[in-house]
Each structure stands twice: as structure tokens, then as C-alpha cells.
């Protein structure tokens, strides 16, 4: 770049921000070579719209779940500093130690999700209780000085928000960044006096008693990471000012509240701790699945493998609901990106419109769908011809299939929930305790063909009456919940069952002693062995005295009924024609992106460079190293054969041999001296690259040796 300077020197060129702003519209990425741009734009918009809807649904759920926690926190705040506000002169208050009210929020180990909770919490507190909310993170607070600095700057910040006149005051005292608690206390006094003398115009109305002295809520987001000394000193200081500053602490705890005792062996005596527990993340996930996937509200679905990948990451690795949502977003994006027919993955009325305007190419891709081909094969020859040639006929059929798919889902989820109501009460949970496990099983194959299904049904045939009735009641609620939908008379049937059981109950007292009362005891939740044994016994019993009680007859009918429902409605989605339109099947893509394996990738890259470089010359059948491979790959491959300590000289020689293997040069020529030096330099570079990647390190154990830092293949 040119400068106007005449002298030599270093010049700083600030980057030109205007130029950088040119960005590609994301929709362009959807534009794959062959497909029409119009189509890809529509697909992208559909995707965006769908994602927005799902996201806001997820956020709503989050808010709803937080509400409980927040409500109890507000209740706690209301109780705290009562004496402060009333300027109490009670004997009790005067003499008691001043304790800082402290709410210990146990939020679970999914630390990444906490930010969202704290954000909501801060907003809620600002809106309803106090403008003075400060949140601190351990990494910003290496000592008391920093804590107070953060505290002061955040407090003054929220004060400026409230009143601009405050600014001069802040500025005059801010020039020296040395805040002390005493300073804060005078600040607080002046601020509260000012606001109470003027008319308070803040929207904080619900807590009128807070108006004069709103509490200062200090949120310590990650209590585990704070150092004992800093926290202890801070608490001692704060407790000394408690009669001037109504401080409330909020601890964000990821592990267990015991950490408070471990962290604050002494200062804990100046805290008045109340525990508040948030919903466990597993329950949160269950609710989320119920809202986003086990519903016909959103057309998009995951197939068994993809869902399994996402839930496995959740259960095995991070417990993070936010990450799960991100994974879901990726799946949606990938689905709309890679599946041209995803254009039909929208609500039914919209799909109807879109079917009309399907292009020839799109019709062709419908014909090529495996599920559609399967369908065509089963048709009469005339129909086959029509489907394959007549565009209008195809469109009609497509619409019909989409409608079928929709009602399939409607029934599917209802029956799934009913079946879950039944099986989730069984001992040992043969079909899974959580509905997601059952759902996965149903997505995979015909559930009634699974090994666990028959035994589960047999267990159901032994349920006690009150249990059975409770379950039926639950099912009834499930089936009734979508208003106006008629579900094949199931509701009526269920109701009928219930009524009959009630009747039975009334008559029961009369025919109490009817032989096999023992069966009605219900199943004790013991171990599997005993269960099977008692099952056998009951079977024998049943066959020996054929006569069943009325209840038993009725019970069998209920179980048969549910069995019928399952066989009718719970077939897996890949039996449905056109299921590809709404089901995302790229589990491997999710796994690649969300559960990356850096070590394996590195090993693959170095061990088999063809995998990434796709250069034919690098292809090797046996495990040999082609000498055209990058130097680092050659060095890496050679080092794999060594033990913990590697002799550099041997290594270098082996390297040279491999590199020169094909180049049949005369080793004694003068030119080869030069080549040797170059090869030596290449070797050194490769070795230092390996060191940088963390495969080897210099060692003092032996001269001319380096130590390997990895073992085995990866």
C-alpha cells in the first residue's frame, strides 16, 4: 500500500470495514448446480420459517420452565431484608448476626445452558424487582479489587440507564478506578434518596415496598470456579455493609450445594442460604421432544438414526438442551439443503398449492423416491403407466400421500402416547422408561415384532385394577387433547372401558371370593427372575382353572384393544409413501458435524492422505507409503513403527530412503549432495510439524532421541 510519507518506517493500515461488509445472502448456498434457483430460494425460505417457528416454541418452553424457578426466587427476595426495609428495632434483629440472604440455584452440569437462564433471570429481576442486578463470572474476578470494580461499573451503568442526570456524579468519581464498598454505600444512599424524594417513575410496581431501597442482587454465575479467598473476603466485606446495602447473593451451582461448604468453610456463617432447584435437564429434553417432534404441528421429522445421534450426544456427552436444539437446527438445514422435495415439507394447505406448481424435474424426483417406486410396483399396470407418465395424475396422488402422511402422524403420536402410558408403569420398563426410547423403537421397526413387546403385553395382562384405570384415564386425556379430531372411535371405546370398570367396582364387593384374587394384587416390582417365575405360575393357574373373573376378561379386552391400535397405527414411517419428504435421514452428517473426532481425523489425514487430498497418485492398496505423499505423512507413518523413544538418525535415514525410492539417481554424483541436504531440511521440517501437532516431544532421557506422545493407531 502506498503512503504519503517520504521517510521509511512501519505504517499501520486499518482494515477498510466498508469493503468487508459485502456478504453473500445465505440463500445462495442453497443454490446447487442443477436445481433451479427459484426452487432453492423457496426451500430456503420454508426452512427459515419452519426453524423460526420451532425455535420460538423452544424458547417459550424454556420460559415456561424457568418461570417456576424465577417465581420462587422472587418470593425469596421478597422475604429477604424485611428488617432492613422496616428499619426494625426488634431485639431479635439487633442481636442476631447479619447474614446475607443467598439463593443457591442448582442448575445442573450443563454449564453451557446456564447463560440463557441467567439472561432471563437478569431481565426478569430488572423488570420486576430492582434495577440493581449485577452478574459476575469467576474469570473476571481474580481478586476482590476486580469484583468491586465490576460491581461498581455494572451498578452505575444500570443507574445511568435510569437517570441521565446521574452522569456527572459518576464521572467525577470514576476518574480513579478505585472502588471500595464504602464508596458504593455512599453511592447507594445518594441514589435511593434521590429517587424516593422525586416521584418514582420506574415501572417497578408490583413490589411497592422495594421502591425506597431496592435490593442489590449480585449473581455469581459459576460458583465452582471462584477462588475461596476472593469469595470469602468479598462476603466478609459485604456482610459488614449489610446495614447500608441490601445485598442479596445468587449462586449459580452446577454440581451440588455442598460446594458452598467446601468453598466457604468460614464465610458460610454469614450467609442465609436457600436452595432453589431447576428442572433436571433430562425432563427438559423430554418436554422439548414432546413440543417439537412428537407433534403434527411441525412437518419436519427425524428418522431413528438421526434422533439417536442427537439424543446420544445429549445423554452421553453434554446434557445440554441448547446443543440439542442446535443439532436439530443443523438437521433441518441439512434436510432442506440436500432433499429437493423438502419443498413439500410444510403444512398441508401450503403443500397443496406447491404441488400444483411442481416442475417436471420435481415430478421426476418424486418418481425416483424409493418409497414411491415401492408403491408403484404394487399397482396395476395401467396405474403404473399413469403414475410414471401422467403429471396430473402424479400430482393428485402426491397430494393424497401427503394427506395420508399427515393423518398417519396424527394417529401415530396418539397411539404412541397411549402405549407409553401403559408401558411406562411396568416394572423394569421393558419398552423404555422415557417416551423417546419407545419412539425410537417405533421409528426403527414394527414395535410388535420386537422381543420386548410380547412380554410387556403379558405384564399388562396382570395389572391391578386401580393401576389400569389410572392408565386408561391418562390415555383418555391424551386422545381428547387435540380438540375436534375424531380418532376412530377410540375415545368412546376408552370411555366405555372405564365405565365398565367402574361398574365392576360396584359389583365387586358382592363376588369378592371368586377364586383367583391373588392375581389382582398387581405385580410387585422385583427382579426379572421372580417376575418371569410368577408369570409362568399365573399362566398355569389360568390354564388350570379356565374360569376367569369378569375383571380379568375385561382386562384382557383392554390389552387386546391397545394391541390392535399398536398394530394398526404404529408402523414405522418408512412404510409410508413419500416419507422421505419430511424425514431427515442423514444421521452420519449429524455425527460428523456434532461429534467430531479430531484425533481420528488427524490420523486419517496423516496415515492416508488420499482420503482428504483425493490425489490418485496417493492411492495405495497395501499399507505402503507412496513417496509422493507430503513429507509429514511419510515421517508420521515411519514414526508409527517406533517405540516410545525414536532415534532421530534412524528416522532420518528411513525418511531419506522412502523419499528417494523412486528417484533412481546415482547416489555418488555431486548433485546428490545437494539433494541430500534438501531432504534433510525437509525431514527436519516434517519432524517439527509433528512436534507442533503434539505427536512427539524432545526428551532428555537419551541424546538424539525424541519421545512419542501417542500410543497405538490414533
Amino acid at each position: 500500500m502506498a503512503t504519503s510519507s517520504v521517510s521509511k518506517g512501519c505504517f499501520v493500515f486499518k482494515p477498510d470495514f466498508k469493503r468487508k461488509k459485502v456478504s453473500f445472502p445465505i440463500a445462495d448456498y442453497f443454490n446447487e448446480g442443477e436445481s433451479l434457483s427459484e426452487d432453492s430460494k423457496l426451500r430456503f425460505d420454508t426452512c427459515q420459517l419452519l426453524w423460526q417457528q420451532m425455535k420460538s416454541e423452544a424458547e417459550e418452553l424454556q420460559e415456561e420452565l424457568n418461570k417456576n424457578l424465577f417465581d420462587s426466587l422472587i418470593e425469596f427476595l421478597e422475604k429477604s431484608h424485611l428488617e432492613f426495609r422496616k428499619k426494625s428495632t426488634k431485639w431479635n434483629y439487633q442481636i442476631k448476626c447479619r447474614e446475607i440472604p443467598t439463593a443457591a440455584l442448582v442448575l445442573g452440569v450443563n454449564v453451557t445452558d446456564h447463560d440463557l437462564t441467567f439472561k432471563g433471570l437478569t431481565e426478569m429481576l430488572r423488570d420486576t424487582v430492582t434495577p440493581y442486578v449485577v452478574s459476575l463470572q469467576a474469570k473476571e474476578c481474580p481478586d476482590v479489587k476486580h469484583i468491586l470494580q465490576k460491581l461498581a461499573s455494572q451498578l452505575m451503568g444500570c443507574c445511568i440507564d435510569m437517570e441521565s442526570t446521574e452522569e456527572e456524579y459518576v464521572q467525577s468519581s470514576q476518574r480513579k478506578m478505585h472502588y471500595s464498598m464504602a464508596f458504593l454505600s455512599t453511592w447507594y444512599k445518594s441514589v435511593t434518596q434521590k429517587t424516593s424524594s422525586e416521584s418514582v417513575k420506574k415501572k417497578i410496581t408490583s413490589f411497592s415496598h422495594w421502591k425506597e431501597s431496592p435490593p442489590i442482587v449480585i449473581i455469581l454465575k459459576d460458583i465452582e470456579s471462584f477462588s475461596t479467598k476472593v469469595l470469602q473476603d468479598f462476603i466478609i466485606i459485604s456482610s459488614q455493609y449489610l446495614h447500608e446495602l441490601p445485598i442479596v447473593l445468587v449462586f449459580g451451582i452446577a454440581t451440588s450445594p455442598i460446594i458452598i461448604h467446601r468453598l466457604l468453610p468460614q464465610a458460610v456463617s454469614s450467609l442465609c442460604i436457600e436452595l432453589l432447584q431447576s428442572l433436571s435437564c433430562k425432563e427438559h429434553l423430554a418436554k422439548l421432544l414432546d413440543k417439537l417432534l412428537l407433534t403434527t404441528r411441525f412437518p419436519f421429522k427425524l428418522n431413528e438414526k438421526a434422533l439417536q445421534v442427537l439424543t446420544n450426544i445429549f445423554l452421553y456427552h453434554d446434557f445440554s438442551v441448547q446443543n440439542f436444539i442446535k443439532g436439530l437446527q443443523l438437521a433441518i438445514l441439512e434436510h432442506f439443503y440436500s432433499q429437493p422435495l423438502s419443498i413439500l415439507c410444510c403444512d398441508l394447505p401450503e403443500a397443496k398449492k406447491r404441488i400444483h406448481s411442481l416442475s417436471e424435474d420435481q415430478c421426476e424426483s418424486i418418481r425416483r423416491l424409493p418409497s414411491f417406486m415401492r408403491y408403484v410396483e404394487k399397482q396395476t399396470p395401467e396405474k403404473q403407466v399413469a403414475s410414471l407418465t401422467d403429471e396430473r395424475f402424479l400430482k393428485e396422488e402426491t397430494l393424497r400421500f401427503l394427506e395420508d402422511l399427515h393423518s398417519y402422524h396424527e394417529n401415530f403420536f396418539l397411539v404412541l402416547k397411549c402405549l407409553h402410558a401403559f408401558t411406562s408403569s411396568l416394572p423394569k420398563y421393558p419398552l423404555g422408561r422415557q417416551i423417546r426410547e419407545l419412539y425410537c423403537a417405533c421409528l426403527e421397526k414394527n414395535i410388535w415384532e420386537s422381543q420386548e413387546y410380547e412380554p410387556a403385553l403379558q405384564l399388562l395382562r396382570m395389572l391391578a385394577k386401580d393401576e389400569l384405570m389410572a392408565i386408561l384415564q391418562k390415555c383418555l386425556e391424551v386422545c381428547k387433547s387435540p380438540p375436534g379430531k375424531q380418532f376412530g372411535g377410540t375415545v368412546e371405546k376408552l370411555q366405555e372401558f372405564l365405565v365398565q370398570f367402574q361398574k365392576l367396582e360396584e359389583t365387586e364387593s358382592n363376588e369378592e371370593e371368586n377364586g383367583s384374587g391373588s392375581q389382582q394384587k398387581g405385580l410387585q416390582k422385583t427382579d426379572l427372575y421372580h417376575l418371569q417365575k410368577s408369570l409362568l405360575e399365573m399362566k398355569e393357574l389360568r390354564s388350570s382353572n379356565k374360569k376367569q373373573t369378569k375383571f380379568e376378561v375385561q382386562r384382557d379386552r383392554v390389552v387386546d384393544f391397545i394391541d390392535n391400535l399398536v398394530r394398526k397405527y404404529l408402523s414405522p414411517p418408512d412404510t409410508q409413501t413419500l416419507y422421505e419428504v419430511v424425514y431427515f435421514t442423514g444421521a452420519h452428517i449429524l455425527r460428523e458435524h456434532l461429534n467430531a473426532a479430531p484425533r481420528i481425523a488427524l490420523h486419517t489425514a496423516l496415515n492416508n492422505p488420499y482420503h482428504y487430498l483425493k490425489n490418485q497418485a496417493l492411492k495405495s492398496e497395501d499399507d505402503s507409503i507412496p513417496n509422493v505423499a507430503p513429507d509429514i505423512c511419510i515421517a508420521y507413518k515411519l514414526h508409527l513403527e517406533c517405540s516410545r523413544l525414536i532415534n532421530l538418525v534412524d528416522w532420518s535415514e528411513a525418511f531419506a530412503t522412502v523419499v528417494t525410492a523412486a528417484e533412481e539417481t546415482d547416489p555418488n554424483s555431486t548433485a546428490s549432495e545437494e539433494i541430500k541436504e534438501i531432504i534433510h531440511a525437509r525431514f527436519i521440517r516434517a519432524v517439527s510439524e509433528l512436534e507442533l501437532l503434539g505427536f512427539i516431544k524432545p526428551t532428555k532421557q537419551k541424546t538424539d532421541h525424541v519421545a512419542r506422545l501417542t500410543w497405538g493407531g490414533c
Binding site: I236, N595, K697
Partner: protein, 435 residues
Amino acid sequence: MFPLENVVLCRESQVSTLMALFGERHHFSFPSIFIYGHTASGKTYVMETLMKTSELPHVIVNCVECFTSRILLEHILNQLNCLTPSEDECTSHIACDSFNDFVRLFKKVTQDQGVDDQTVYIVLDKAEYLREMEANLLPAFLRLQELTNRNVTVIFLSQIVWEKFRPNTGCFEPFIMYFPDYSIGHLQKILSHDHPPEYSADFYAAYINILLGVFYTVCRDLKELRHLAALNFSKYCEPVVKGEANERDTRKLWRNIEPHLKKAMHTVYLREISSSQWEKLQQDDTEMGQLKGLSAHAHVELPYYSKFILIAAYLASYNPTRTDKRFFLKHHGKIKKASFMKKHEKTSNHLLGPKPFPLDRLLAILYSIVDSRVAPTANIFSQITSLVTLQLLTLVGHDDQLDGPKYKCTVSLDFVRAIARTVNFDIIKYLYDFL
């Protein structure tokens, strides 16, 4: 103001020594006085009341609050500046950067305030924090009288003995005074002193007597005892308020309060439940059963692999490296413990505490204890890191990331056993100490 003897109890000899040291107002006193004694032995209280009742010009600064020397010095000067309250002076803030400035400003301020003809007292409470500030601060305060050439006495209050303060370069030796712990008689007297106005002194004294009987063996801290006294007094009065007993029914009152206090010893006193919860319990008269203490919530829910990582880390921390082969190789043959036990290892590894281990050993153990095949994915590595942030593992000497980080497992055996139980892993079978 009350006469001193009525408010400061059981410290007659200390008070009279101090009074003698201070002498008349214009007399020079000892340049520096160092007072030490356990927590709640009345150091702060005696100093405060002494200064106030005799209306001496003084400032009291708590050193915990002053995390830099600058704040400490400015604090002293600004408080001095407000000794005689006159509106405009108090609002002007005195800035002070160094001790040099402090000496100069100190002279100026005392002159302005018109106290240069009498002893000015500077009380530095929690003086142990001075040791963490600049090294020159303590020696300078010790000889402030000499440096300023004014009539000033600096009083240090500390829980730590003087020997731990003395800089190795030597310094001016202060006058040293010890506040001994209160005896049970003293405690009885002081605690009974502040009885609630509604009840007679005798009634309250009887209550304190019972309280001390229960708590004296575990706690002699005056502040804690007073806190407990205040918390439980309403329960003590309950029979009287209800009319079931009169104030002199000591036996009946005792039978009512004693089990209650014993319960308090295991709960509020240990901060297992908070004082507000305790008070609520008393009011509602509910049973303790529903309210669980903090330590009842020890359980931590972890992702599946995190549990195994933690177990692997525990094994790596408490098993000698040599024994890994025996525990984790499928066909290790029959190696008896005795044959591969070295002499010094006879002591329990659990008594020695966790040992650091490299990342690769952790992973190797992890792979052999998880039944399914785990790929070393980014998620596994980030799980290890999150266990570190959760303080379940700690990173040892993390100066060089490439050099292979080392970790230690910080959880207890009980904790890891609870975790292992949830994944049906019998950890005891894999621990060298329990062979």
C-alpha cells in the same frame, strides 16, 4: 453514654491497661499498640466503645475492605477529615497515592481539624491483611508518630500473633497486648447482659445457662452463641406464652428447649439449613423430615461418559501406574497382590491423597472400563475440560498444553462410589487399596 463498665464486661484489666497507656488527652501515648486474640474476644468492640465513650479523636478502618494501600490511606484521611462535621469539607475527597503523601496530608488534616494538640488514634482492624499489602506499609504505620512528628497512636487488631507480622528486616516493636478467650462464666455474663426488654434478666440468664450447657463443648465463639441464643429464644418462651408454664418453671422449660437445641446443633449451627428456614420451622412446628439439609443434596447428575471419565480419573489418581496392567488387561494372568506390592505402598493410597496422572492414561483406562467403543471425539475432550471447571478434576501444572496435561481427581470415595453405582460399575474391585 453508659459508663464503660456497664457496656464492656469482663475486660476490666485490658481496659485499664489501655487507659493507662493513653494517659491524658494531650499526652503522647505509645506509638503503636498491637492487640491480638481469637475471633469474638471483643477486640473491635472494646476499642470502639473505649474510643466513643472517652470521645477521643480516632478513626477505625477495617483492612479487609482495603485491598490496596491506596484505599486504606485515603480511607484514614477522609475519615479524619470528617472528625468535626462541617458540611463542605466532608464532601471533598482527599486523594493519596503513597505513604509520603499520607504523612504530609496527615499533618495537614490534623491541623485543619484542630486535633494536633491531642492524641489521634488510628485503629487498624483485621490487621493481618496488612501483611499482603506493600512491605513498607506495616513498618511505616508502626512508627507513624516519629514520621509525622505528631501525637498519634496506631492500634492494630489481629487474630494472629505478632511474631507472624514481624518483617525479617526488623522494625519498631509495638506494645503487645493479648485478649484471652472468655471463660464460660464470662460468656454467661456477657450473653445474659443483652436480654430482651419483655423478660426479666433472671429468666434470660437461665436460658443462656441451658444454651451454654448444650453448645459450650462445640462452640465458644461469642458471636455464634449470641446468634443461636437469638434464634432459639422464642421456642424457649413458648410454654410461658401459651400459659403452660410460668417463668420460674425451669425444669419444664428445660425439657422443652433441650431437645430443640440439640437438633439445632446438627442443623442451623452447621449451616445445614439456614437461620430463616430454622425460624420458619419453629413457627410452623413442622417436622424436620421435609426439610433436607444442604448435604442431603450431594447427588450430581452427570452425562454417561462423564461418569466413566470421573471413575477412570479416580482410578488413575489412586492406583499406582504399575497396577494398571493387572486391572485392565484382559489376560493378565494370576498376579497376587503381595507379589507386585512394594513395601512403601503398604500405606493406603487413599491416605496419601490423589496423585496426578497424564491425559493418555486417563483415556486408556476409560476405554477399558466402558463396554461400548468410545471414539476419542472432541466431545470427550470437552467433557474432561468441563469436569475441570466443575472442580471434580483439577489440572496440575498446565503451563504447556502440548506437553500432555496432567490431572488429579478431587472427588471423594463416597461420591465416586455413588456415581459408579448408577452405571453398575463395581469400583471397589478396581481399587488397589481394597484388594
